[in-house]
Symmetry: C2
Subunit: 182 residues, 2 copies
């Protein structure tokens, strides 16, 4: 019994995720954010609260979409070659400039916004668990190093690549390197 909203919540949220992902939290001002979301101020503040709340929701949306997709990919991966399963995490995709939203959030807000840090850590934990799953399914426990340690190495390499990639300073040929440590 009221006027229906003219925008789709998820579409707007995806726009928020895109712009925050690409520009970061502080570098995204309200006009940027509103344009990316396709909203005007009235609708935005009523539906999303404020900029910070929207950023936190964008992190959740990243979790639900991007992280979940990556986790699925890892879970469905062929269980005979860990290198081949994990290599996609290190493959250039042409979007290095925006990096990884988790990594961006950790670096920009990790030390000052506890909730953002918690969300980022939770997503990193999901990635780590999926990597660990690949390693155990591929029988990577045989060497001297525990699969858990190997998963930590992989996760840190991944975030290192995402961070360095934003400045264009990360190398590209990861297959040999990954294979050498699996």
């Amino acid at each position: 019994m009221a006027r229906p909203r003219e925008f789709e919540y998820e579409t707007a949220l995806q726009g928020a995720m895109d712009i925050f992902w690409q520009q970061g939290y502080r570098a995204t001002n309200l006009p940027d954010l509103l344009q990316a979301m396709g909203l005007t101020r009235g609708s935005f503040y009523q539906a999303f609260g404020d900029k910070e709340a929207t950023y936190l929701q964008a992190l959740d949306f990243y979790d639900a979409c991007v992280v979940s997709k990556t986790v699925d990919m890892l879970n469905q991966c062929n269980a005979d070659d860990a290198t081949a399963c994990l290599l996609p995490l290190f493959q250039p995709n042409g979007k290095e400039a925006r990096g990884c939203f988790i990594c961006n959030a950790m670096v920009e807000l990790g030390s000052e916004n506890r909730r953002a840090a918690e969300k980022a850590n939770a997503m990193a934990g999901r990635l780590r668990a999926a990597i660990l799953g690949v390693l155990t399914r591929c029988g990577e426990g045989r060497g001297e190093r525990s699969p858990s340690d190997t998963a930590d190495l992989m996760l840190h390499l991944y975030f290192g690549k995402q961070a360095m990639g934003k400045a264009g300073g990360s190398s590209n040929d990861w297959e040999a390197r990954l294979r050498s440590l699996l």
Copy 2:
């Protein structure tokens, strides 16, 4: 034949480095910056130009102080145990919240400020070269992996740890992990 300045340039620059390192570029406003540098606006704009120029100079100062110190440490390290030489790079120092200025600059400005990205990449290159020096001096070329690839792995692990550490989500016991891949 003029009034001498009352502040020391290097001291002020170190203050700028500290605050930019801790808070990042955008999150540091001019009052923050001026207080950290111990200057008022007049002196600041005359001596340092503007905020961006000061940030770039702060990166250079980080290179000249922090990076150089780390590189020296690696260069002077005992040439018989690569793990022991590189472990300090991964040791907690109680200042995880500020992370690594190089990593912070890469993630915050790498994709939008070419000069900041170049400086960050140059510093990362210096770290990589020093790591590579440790590896070759310690005879790490024997395995199947080239020292160059191992240096890249180490560098990416380092930046990954710095990024994750800002959100408090990086694990701590690196000795076994490093030893397992050297």
